[in-house]
Amino acid sequence: MSTPATTSNPRGKIGALLFRHEMILLLVLVAEWFYFNSVGRRFGSLDNTFDLMRHSAEIGLLALVMTPIILTGGIDLSVGSLLGLCAILFGKLWRDAGMSLPLAAVCTLLIGALAGGLNALLIARLRLPALIVTLGTYSLFRGLAEAITRGVDTFTNFPTSFLALGQGHTAGLPTQVWFFLAVAVAIWLLVHQTTFGRSLRAIGFAPEGARFAGLPVERRIAQAYILTGVVAALAAIIYTARLGQAKADAGTGYELLAITAVVLGGTSIFGGIGSVHGTLLGVAAIAVLNNGLVHARQPREMAGMLTGALLLAALSASALPKLLAKFRPPRQSASPSS
């Protein structure tokens, strides 16, 4: 029958490609590092590295939990708004409802879960398009934050013990980095080492196929969105601690940065393909670019422009094999028949 040459190992090719995508991103990252190190005197210092980590923790958290969602073929535009809503509710619970900070934090995480649950209900249960649902909750959450604070109320004067979470060090690292690492490890294990991640991929590739295989499609999708709500709430608390204040506009635009980091990291917006380590590299590439350009005395806006350009470049690179695949045989006629 047909020669096995072209059909033998497409999986290997895809694997190699992913590997290559992440390798390229790693090379970009290393190149960024060396470049900024050579132009910016203080860039490579430990202090600056810590500073960089501190500033990227919140977006990093959002990007991490966005990865499972995009793996299912979904998207969550509401994370930035939810961060804002959680930040001011956290402040409100502490200042106006008189809760202790730990209790307020727990309540905030619960609120995050509830808000994620709203997305989950509409997307998983009612099967509405994620893009539009989260566009709606994007507006809703931010609007609630604005309505609650009447657009002006700001929560400040948090105790220093709390601010240490966002500004202090623990065991040699900025405190929030420990939270970030814990979440990163947890999500990496979840996506790459458990049946949860396997199910998400199956759903991303073929939602109907996953249902016919007896996978709990609804529940898995719902879990991904609820998880995102909880982690967005965590990010909100860290954000508040870092800046020492909670305002209704907290986290504006973070959803786009998080999505950018995920896609830059090689996760397909159509679902199925992607990795958490890719996302981490994507977050790092954006963070180093932002921080490094400041040290290189470049205008702040350059970082955004370069991030966008990098995203387009990564996408175009990922489109090349697809274009090349056109010149390969269609699956059916090439596969060996039995």
Binding site: I75, F141, R142, G143, L256, G308
Partner: protein
């Protein structure tokens, strides 16, 4: 008219809202503020029509806010160079078209997902504009505001421009073969290819069109004030998409019509003044807008489920 039941139901909601306002807040209907409000929404309407076309062709464009701002700033800068009105208009539209063509080329040529492509171009344009402008407003020559007409005349002219565009586009999407191509490609691109259409060209053209309309809208926005605000497009993409969704355009492509979008724009535009006149704090606007989007999408979801059960 079961075919247009979706558009009609939004129109009924709008009519109810207007009725409530007529009873509780007749001040809403005072001519001058009403005219100003409508004129302010004219650019939104044009952009919303554009995004509706893009969505009908099963794409999305979230860079329109940035394109809008950039076109506005370019118009302001050219006006500052003492270019007359018409060439500035042409240049603005061309710039919009060129930016749309970039999006279109990336989406159609490389077959990249439009949401990510336009996310990237959005960020690039926004940051580029901020770099150039640093948030500074641009003063326009005196004769520019309201095309040099009276405020009232200018506002009328604006509204007429937007309505003419709307009617033309609504007619074209129903009665021109090219308009139907959008629906065909959005409904099933592969079938469109087999039927001898060229989906990639259609995609490219719809993005260019989006750019053209954004350019038009930016120009009509610029002439409404003595200065150009480089941040004028912030959030416009979401407002336009929301209006299209409320008006019954499906993100899954192939469905919707521009009269629905028209009603959607009016409905969303009424929220803020309605809040003011009903003595609700204006801070609720975004939350209510979000709730309306969710209600619209839930409504669509339940409706499309009916025939199968």
């Amino acid at each position: 008219m079961q075919k247009y039941s979706r558009e009609l139901s939004v129109a009924i909601v709008l009519a109810l809202l207007l009725l409530v306002l007529a009873v509780t807040a007749p001040a809403f209907y005072e001519p001058q503020p009403l005219l100003s409000r409508l004129a302010r929404e004219a650019p939104t309407l044009i952009v919303a029509c554009g995004i509706a076309l893009v969505m009908i062709a099963r794409q999305i464009d979230i860079s329109i806010g940035s394109v809008f701002a950039l076109c506005g700033v370019c118009a302001g800068l050219l006006a500052g160079e003492h270019w007359p009105l018409v060439p500035v208009f042409a240049a603005t539209v061309l710039i919009g078209a060129a930016l749309g063509a970039i999006n279109g080329a990336l989406v159609a040529g490389l077959q990249l997902p439009s949401i990510v492509v336009t996310l990237a171009t959005m960020v690039i344009l926004k940051e580029g504009l901020r770099w150039k402008q640093q948030g500074a407003f641009i003063n326009l020559p005196d004769a520019w505001q309201w095309f040099g007409l009276s405020q009232r005349g200018g506002q009328f002219a604006l509204i007429i421009c937007a309505m003419v565009l709307l009617i033309a586009l609504a007619w074209a999407t129903k009665h021109l073969a090219g308009g139907r191509f959008l629906y065909a490609v959005g409904s099933n691109a592969e079938a469109a290819r087999l039927a001898g259409l060229r989906p990639r060209w259609v995609t490219l053209v719809v993005f260019v069109f989006m750019g053209v309309l954004t350019g038009c809208a930016a120009f009509l926005n610029v002439v409404q004030s003595p200065q150009v605000d480089p941040k004028s497009g912030t959030g416009l993409e979401l407002k336009a998409i929301a209006a299209a969704v409320v008006g019954g355009v499906a993100v899954s492509g192939g469905r919707g019509n521009l009269w629905g979008v028209f009603v959607g724009v009016l409905l969303l535009a009424c929220i803020n003044p309605a809040l003011t006149y009903l003595h609700v704090e204006a801070y609720w606007e975004k939350a209510i807008q979000g709730a309306i989007i969710l209600l619209a999408v839930i409504f669509d979801g339940l409706r499309s489920r009916k025939p199968t059960t």
